[in-house]
Amino acid sequence: MSYLELAGLQKRYGNAVAVDDVSLSVEQGESVALLGPSGCGKTTTLRMLAGLIEPNRGTMTLDGSEITRLPAHKRNMGYVFQSYALFPHLSVGRNIAFGLEERGASRSEIEKRVQEGLALVRLGGLEQRRPKELSGGQQQRVALARALVIQPSVLLLDESLSNLDAKLRDAMRHEIRSIQRTLGITTLFVTHDQVEALTMCDRIAVMHRGRIAQIGSAEDIYDRPATRFVAEFVGRANVLPLARDAQGRATVWEQLVPVEAAENADLFVRPQRMRIVPVSEPASGDAARLTGRVLRSVFVGDHVEVLVEGAGGQLTVEMPSGSAAPAEGSEVAIVWPRAESRVFVREAS
């Protein structure tokens, strides 16, 4: 049995099901992201784990003992809230000391651990300040230190970086990741930001409509999406409607593509997996190939986006910047390895 086990968790609000049959196993020291759009049930799942929301069904087990009905204050979970939820009436030092005081730690022990906590998040010397005198990034670190000094069984991070600006977010991502690795602390990280999930976690659970759509490594999720939702939500994808020719073979833009023909389905290909080649270059055996006309090329800094139009629509190819972008209006061929093709049926809406 894994260190942390969620089995068949369900939470209903009246007739609305917020979380439906969520099961998840997390190993000790592992970092798992719950990734999904707002309203997918990821925060509800995290709150059930912390004991802040009671599930209607299912069980939670931590280190072999069941915690499903244990109240929040007995669970020893470090929770970093999206709003940080620092105590505005207490200084930074007292905020961090709060959990230790509630555990009845000695004065010297508290003092020592608070200093360690402050050093860990690089806020030494700020313990006398009030939370509102700190910047957003500093408040975030206080919240992190406060959750870490109690030496929690599991660290729970709820959209903890979404209130920071892009640069700071990037820095905090690495900081949290390295703290998490140094302390070897089991971490669950709720986010709607796929970059956060991809960079900060060992495994990702993509959630959709209260259920886990797919669990796997970053590569699994990105390159081998299990459902149409995962393919659309994580990363960018060209969505090409599939049709059939007279012989019943699959076509896109009235050109043959090497996938199984399917009714009411789309072909998904990542823009980074596609390459642009001259039309004159012959098709190779195991590659898929389409021809079209370049509408425009956009330089985006680290890559060039080339928009190509065909008989039945458009697609985007991402080329490394520095490579020669094809001229606008020119006829080109787009090729990609056969294995990069995914076919998903359209959802009845």
């Binding site: 204050h73 939820a85 709060f98 959990g99 509630e102």
Partner: protein, 262 residues
């Protein structure tokens, strides 16, 4: 300023004048040197303030009103704050109905409350007693405290109590270490307003006060029924100054608490 703005400002000024004018009259009368109410006074003096200092019944009533207001405030908070906590934080059946029930006394005319209390207290021999007056005033202040504190508690920052719980604080410790400290500005404001509501309460007191226990507003009503001298105007000025002082103190305290807390 636009034309419409000027019209609105003038209108607002007019409303203020209409509200404040009677008070100006009272203040001028308080410093009158006349033997009876005459406006404008023919001369000015402090003689009615001196008279006030030696008026036994009014001073007794003032002292009774202060004691009642203090006890009422204390008991209203003791009863109202836990009720507000339960209504703001608890999850239990009938919560909405209970919230409405606590609002009802605020909507009921105090005239009716006063009559009901008189009928209810008479057989219990509670009329014209300190406990009777305290209970009577609490029918006004307790619902008020519950409403005000429930709002204050519901408006605490998101997740702050949840954070305390995840850090190991039991529900009771959460209330003591987080909820109440953060609600302190609201508590102070609530206490002061309860005090003033009780001190000012006239209608219910008229029903249940008696010669043995008469609050200041009741005593003042009786006084103006029988006498026409400016003594009550002098008393009014004292009360206005005292009230302003309380409001200023609250403003300072709550303002400071806000500055520290949020």
């Amino acid at each position: 300023m636009t034309g419409a703005g000027r019209v609105l400002s003038s209108f607002a000024a007019l409303v203020y004048v209409m509200i404040l004018a009677p008070i100006v009259v009272v203040v001028m009368l308080a410093f009158s040197a006349d033997n009876f109410i005459l406006f404008p006074p023919s001369g000015y003096s402090l003689r009615w303030f001196n008279q006030l200092a030696s008026n036994g019944p009014l001073l007794t009533a003032l002292w009774l009103s202060v004691r009642i207001a203090a006890v009422v405030t204390l008991l209203s908070l003791v009863v109202g704050v836990p009720a507000a906590l339960a209504l703001a934080k608890g999850q239990f059946p009938g919560k909405a109905a209970l919230t409405g029930f606590f609002l009802a006394p605020l909507l009921l005319p105090t005239l009716i409350t006063g009559l009901a209390l008189l009928l209810f207290f008479s057989p219990l021999k509670l009329t014209a007693t300190l406990p009777g007056l305290v209970l009577g005033h609490m029918t006004v202040t307790v619902p008020f405290v519950i409403r005000m504190m429930a709002t204050a508690l519901a408006n605490l920052p998101d997740d702050i109590e949840a954070a305390a719980a995840t850090l190991g604080a039991t529900p009771w410790r959460v209330v003591r270490r987080v909820t109440l400290p953060l609600a302190t500005p609201g508590l102070i404001a609530c206490a002061c307003l309860s005090f003033l509501l009780s001190f000012d309460e006239t209608v219910i007191s008229l029903f249940i006060a008696g010669p043995r226990a008469s609050t200041l507003p009741v005593e003042m009503v009786r006084y103006v029924e029988g006498r026409t001298d400016p003594l009550i105007a002098a008393l009014s000025v004292v009360l206005i100054v005292a009230t302003l002082a309380v409001v200023l103190v609250v403003e300072r305290l709550v303002g400071v608490a806000r500055a520290v807390g949020k």
